[in-house]
Symmetry: C2
Amino acid sequence: MPVYKAPVDDVMFLLTDVFQIERYNNLPGFADVTPDVIEAVLSEGAKLCEEVFQPVNLSGDKQGCTRHPDGSVTTPKGYREAYEAYKAGGWLGLPAPEEFGGQGLPSTLNAIMQEFLSSANLALGMYPGLTQGAVAAMLEHASEEQKRTYLPKMISGEWTGTMNLTEPHCGTDLGLLKTRAVPNGDGSYAISGTKIFISAGEHDLAGNIVHLVLARIEGAPMGTKGITLFVVPKFLVNADGSLGARNGVSCGSIEHKMGIHGNSTCVMNYDGATGWIIGHENKGLNAMFVMMNEARLAVGIQGLGCSEVAYQNALAYAKDRRQGRALTGAAEPDKPADTLLVHPDVRRNLMSIRAFNEAARALVLWTALKADVAHRSDDAAARQAADDHMGLMTPVIKGVLTDVGFDNAVKAQQMFGGHGYIEEWGMSQFVRDARIAMIYEGANGVQAMDLVGRKLGRDGGRAIMTFFGEVGQFCQENAGHEGMAPFTGPLSAGLQQLQAATMWFMQNAMAKPDHAGAGAHDYMHLFGLVALGYMHARMARVALDKLKAGANGQTERMNGKLVTARFFMERAMPEIAAHVARIQTGSDMTMAFTAEQF
Amino acid sequence: MPVYKAPVDDVMFLLTDVFQIERYNNLPGFADVTPDVIEAVLSEGAKLCEEVFQPVNLSGDKQGCTRHPDGSVTTPKGYREAYEAYKAGGWLGLPAPEEFGGQGLPSTLNAIMQEFLSSANLALGMYPGLTQGAVAAMLEHASEEQKRTYLPKMISGEWTGTMNLTEPHCGTDLGLLKTRAVPNGDGSYAISGTKIFISAGEHDLAGNIVHLVLARIEGAPMGTKGITLFVVPKFLVNADGSLGARNGVSCGSIEHKMGIHGNSTCVMNYDGATGWIIGHENKGLNAMFVMMNEARLAVGIQGLGCSEVAYQNALAYAKDRRQGRALTGAAEPDKPADTLLVHPDVRRNLMSIRAFNEAARALVLWTALKADVAHRSDDAAARQAADDHMGLMTPVIKGVLTDVGFDNAVKAQQMFGGHGYIEEWGMSQFVRDARIAMIYEGANGVQAMDLVGRKLGRDGGRAIMTFFGEVGQFCQENAGHEGMAPFTGPLSAGLQQLQAATMWFMQNAMAKPDHAGAGAHDYMHLFGLVALGYMHARMARVALDKLKAGANGQTERMNGKLVTARFFMERAMPEIAAHVARIQTGSDMTMAFTAEQF
């Protein structure tokens, strides 16, 4: 049976010591959350994840979802009870406005909870996760009446939400979508078409399911400029808020997938279903992008969550399994063999994953705090800067954390040998579940193009220049600080290489956009390494300061932070040069083949 | 439905143009196999794989194997018929000696067939594959009587073979094994114990299953020096060769695995089963290593096979699926969207996989030819040199081709977006199947240690010095040749870095073996890049020569070879510097944590 313990200590170190959350006290929702309160909230969340969500993870993978002939879908055994516990704890509304029944707490705390949920049970965590995304889109774009009708029940978890974008012939290229909306004459529309890959499209956890659906109103322009967002509830809602007639939307089938078996991935058939516009006609993509950005951050966090739980299980196995002897001679000569932990190659895998996880968690929290600033600050300049940061980091977090999160799950599985390949140890599930995060909410190739093609140049490069400035200044200020050279050295070299790669795009990709396309994937990972390296350097500085101040019984942990950060500098940062070299070869060889030559 | 076409053309280019197989005419079995004969044989093999094995691959994954209450196991629908066709074609005995009913053809042809089989149906191909491994071990270590009893029926495919090493508490560390053998007094032994992860341990394809089993004879020393190899047939064999009583070995259960569902992975219970020593008492590991080396090469080839079939399917999808527009403007403005093939990031993935596959295939054939020399040449010096090459390349081919083969299957799956994640397109199966090759026959971390800890220093570094010499000489001879600079430049730089890394181990790992352990994985991949780069450079030289000579209608293909080789030099070889940098950081940070600090 796999194990999981939520990393509350590490989170508290980041929130209080590294990012000093008390500096955000001026933001609504932050004033009351002292470190003590935060730790209490997170410990409760940890308990839910460890004791309720995680125990039904492996069994849920094995059982999967079942669609019945009437189109209803049953989730795996134990999912209902776990979801009820989550609902009862008010977790879904943690970051939501109090006027709709939410708790109005920092969305940063929600991001942490998303990591814990993803580690404990990714498939189950997706049901409330998608609801939170739908809530975010409706908060920003729905009418007051729509908000009053749907939000309180979605925020309480009584109803869940979905996002319906993909159709059989289009996923990335939404301009091709065919689902159509015909005015009913009463302000509502009749929606018809087929949507595929709809996560949580039908299930037995909630009384109603609120579908947000992209469709094209009759006569609207082709392409992305003719797409409108609609709300289409499974059951129509009466004026008094009670459930009315069943709407014309149903689950045609569920997919047999590589992983996340506990989440029902549905083909949804819309057959004249009644829907109402969210926001404005033909502006559906804008509205949906709010939801997608929330979702992209959440998916990046899923990558981290999978990596973390895979690491914890590999570590437990490495401490327990005895095989072979240390290269330096038997570590425990009285035992028939040493534990796997003595083997350098096992250590290399463990340390690689650990060093990534700790930096990725920091990057997520740094960015989540910016999200809170962007949404809650009354200082326009602060909001803009935070928004810049989020726009820049969203594709990096989504692309890098899911790519590396998957690789790490594979590394962790590898440590189990043959036991990693059979399903009973759960390592295969972590790999199979982690795989989806590289694909959904915009495949990682799309994230890379979003970063290079859209985010770099936006507003004259304001966001990227700010990032360069901050990292550069940190290196300058810390280079001479005792003990910081092993961190500022590689970081500042990495920053220079990132700047060189950025410059290369500016000089070469304008005239030949394929140069940007051929280098985008490498650039995203290069950017990720510098951002993660910066996180390690910041954590190292805090660890050094704490050690100097006495560390209060945290000496071993802070020394561990320094070792982990140095491991990252020595073992992960060398990849930067390879990325730059590839970027600078351009696209000539990549694009040289004719279609026939393949 | 996935597609597959065996790459016969590419194989013929390698055999005839690059490695000039006619130079091997002095070897037994080679004289009659003219290029025409080879092409005829391979085309037959290709047909079998494309038309018989491949069509039951996806369905076999879905259905899997079934163990019945009596311990018997049924393979998926269509497997029996496919296996019968393989048997009828005499494929199992292709490289086996004629005196036991084999065809005595080059084992190089068998290696090619192994690639085709692995692409078409990995799980099914394992049944005869393991039999070939058992045949190899028995040819070298069994008595004449044992050979006469078992080999003809194994070589015809009437019986299959297995290898029984792993036990619940030991896989890599076979010194711990507990299965015991008690003399029956008549020359036979009673074998008792539990073996796990036994591929093809029980099934319905053959009349008998010949288990090769490692066990410890009562009173034998502990550790690896007390292990003996036994042959334990499922049915005892009468003096006239007919099947006798059922032996005391049975399948206790089959594993639920991530992939290769069509292969029955069994827990085998030995309950006083009758077995006979193969080779010598307490020398079981030596005998088993013959089988394992054969198997390791075959597993490396599986990595290539998975990569190739995943590539072919991704390419077909990229040519067919329309999504978005070329960055340089619509390629087909009259269509609603361009094909995926216009997108540089899609091209990057396709070219990366292709460049690996073509070089990996070359490396396999180069090494397979050496295997034929090692086994068949009457020149002792040639045999020794070939044997050196094989010892050195076996861990590289096993480790690198399976690691990268898996990564490539993941890359290919990624191109399908959400369609890659659902099972019906087959891409998930390629990933799940490819995953096992990194684990079995010695997990890749073990391969890396075999290379660094054993193969580098063997015989005073004779094998590695020969390899360095050959690659260095090639660079020297070709650097000035027109058109070769883009290949010899990166290759010779890569060789220097490989030599520097080797030197670093010599200077640092003697005193501190953990330095070798912490760098072994990187060294294996570094070595692989130089070896694959060398293959590309050799192919490029041949392509240039053919183009100069007129190319006989192969101009496009030969130009394609040059593009692919340059892509590899530009995009894969930069990784070399990252590997060297990591190796040279040593093991200090890798090993710094105490067990408690984790």
